[in-house]
């Protein structure tokens, strides 16, 4: 970009849930807890709704990593969310392995509605990992 330095941090796509993790990510901004600006969020209703094909699409189109900010046990749609999100993680990581893609480029952590610091910590360490692994 003209007139400045392009931020070359790894590109991370975050699937974040509207009711639970989105408020935490918003609050990270409110509290000015900085993280790389190459982290992009797409809101979804529930973390167990992420289709593996969306993750594959993101990684194939140029994202370095995908982070699922999961509802965990806070999911307003029910307790089975944790197991289901875990299962879709497992399936997608198998798919990544089959395609010769590092399965660690997909990461998941439970982010509660006030877990701003945890979110920032996770995306920062994920970004560091992706930065190292791509070199």
């Amino acid at each position: 970009m003209a007139g400045g330095k392009v931020n070359n941090s790894p590109k991370i796509l975050v699937f974040s849930t509207e009711k639970i993790s989105d408020p935490a990510i918003d609050m990270a901004g409110l509290l000015k807890l900085h993280y790389p600006p190459t982290v992009y969020t797409i809101p979804i209703p529930c973390s167990s709704a992420v289709k593996p094909r969306w993750i594959m699409h993101a990684l194939e189109q140029g994202f370095d990593g995908v982070f699922i900010a999961a509802d965990g046990t806070d999911c307003p749609y029910g307790e089975s969310c944790t197991t289901k999100t875990g299962e879709l993680m497992r399936i997608t990581q198998e798919m990544l392995k089959d395609k010769g893609i590092d399965p660690a480029r997909l990461k998941m952590a439970a982010i509660c509605s006030v877990c701003s610091e945890a979110f920032v910590k996770h995306v920062k360490s994920f970004s560091e990992y992706l930065g190292k692994s791509s070199n």
Binding site: M1, L13, D26, A28, Y40, P45, S48, R53, C112
Partner: protein, 644 residues
Amino acid sequence: MKNKIGVYVCHCGGNISDYVDVEKVRKAVENDEGVYLAKTTMFACADSNQKEMVDDIKDQGLDGVVVASCSPKLHLLTFRAVTERAGLNKYNYVHANIREQVSWAHSDDKLGATEKAIKIVKATIAKVRNSEALEPIKVKSIKAVAVIGAGVAGMRAAIELAEAGSEVFLIEREFFVGGRVAQWDNLFVSEETGKELVTRLYDEVMRHRHVTLFTGAEVIENSGNVGNFKLKVKITPRHFKLSCAQGELQKAIDVCPVVVPDEFNFNITTRKAIYHNYPSEYPQLPAVDMKNCTRCGECEKVCNGVDFSQQTEYLNINVGSVLLATGFDPYEPKKGEFGYGEINNVVTLQQFKRIVHYCDDKLMYNGKEVKNIAYIYCVGSRQVDGENKYCSRYCCTATIHAAIDVKKKFKKVHNFHFNRGIRTYGKQEVLYDESSRLGDIYLQSFEHDPPKVERVGDETIVRIKDVLTKDKELEVVADLVVLVTGMVPRKDNSIGNLLKVPKGRDKFFNEIHMKLRPVETVIDGVTIAGASQGPKNIMESMNSALSAATKSFSLINSGELALEPTVAMVDENACDYCGKCEEACPYSAFEKVEKSGKFIVKVNSTVCKGCGMCLPVCPTNAINLIGLTDVDMENMIDALVPQV
């Protein structure tokens, strides 16, 4: 496919444009496919801009709208309403969050923030391009509200809700109502005492047959959502029968051998395990403090009202909305903070008020008559080094009011106010004026050089460098040092965690927006009132209680809530019934049906909550969420990828 999309990029005063080059964002998207007009605006939410948007939609015939501004939690509904007013379906509006998730989060990297904002707006345009006109789904809402906390804010809210026509469950953790206000004596401006105010509200609460009050009660489980919260309430018994013969109660209290510090009087006095905080306290039935009771049985011998057979009860209630009014705790100074806990004549403002309450002819403390009183302001508030940066709002007024009362009650008293600037805002200025006329001395310290409290021989001395005398130190020999302690959140605010209500930087419950949505939280259906949200005086608490009651009522009033129409839809051609979606759905929203000679699933859209749990499990990818299809998702991802 939309081809007349309007894009509005907001400066938000400077909240966005100080870090994001909004003009650059506008230019970067104005030629995107489908974009018809792209504008920047100082405040997208301002009436003038909303009007301009309505005119644009009508005059230019826009078929899709994007506003790039703050979090959708704040203004999604505002701009949906704008599109509706202009005659466009509100689901042809899509919101882009470039404040909380861009300008604020990346205020350390302006270039990176601008680049991110451009991509987010492009992704949002990609989504609106494919958007469809939708109708909301209606669900039933239970016409009942749980009000947590029966202090003045909670009781006021309960009355308001009941008058409006709602069923109210008023749930108080303590055995008595009134919260902190019951601990105050006369109040400014009315000169009514806290107890009188509590009594008045309690009487009103009791008059309403739609309010059910639970004392000694705590919410221990929560499930469900706005419209239908399922709460489990634990009710601890008082171990007292409803009636107690006259005189027996006092006998029971007298024979109780347990003596514990009385928290109602901020530990300056003691009480027994059988107690009421003051005579005529409501509900007018004492309670047994089972944490401290030794079950010696002495009270049972003299009072037949005591009943140890009462058991803890559990109650399940269903409500449409929850209103939190759980109040505050006074700040507890650390040991040694201005001599607290080390010098024996250093007390807090709250303790001081109780001391004044119990003294009659002379103001006595530790057996000594008090003449010189030094008030040290902003203890635990506006801390330069500590955690609490906020002003507790009520303490300047409360202190000056107390100082005037003391001077009127005990003529020989001299008041010295060691302050950091007095904040008796509004009508409360009258008190400051009165106190000055009565001869009170005001000494203001520098922010980084607070007053010092020292014990020299048998005297307690307070020293200060006043802003007017600068390097010249002034000192007062004080018989009593009163630390003007502010408000902090309740030590046990577990109800907040149970309902997942976020807390702000001050650790009080956080509203969505201080001015725009001041009593709502991000948890749909949960509202907040009073000092649980941040320091407030009684009038401010009452105002917020009325506001929260109105907001909660608006959610339950019609008995129906409009929910997002983003439910699952099945591609009948692709579906080859396997039952996996039925297994995944927590709401049993799928039904097996036969169509065109094969079995497929059908979605019951009033049962489907749009969680999307069925999406990844379908082996033929036959299910999509309305408004979040594969096409939407892939378009958004594609827009986020390229270098700007």
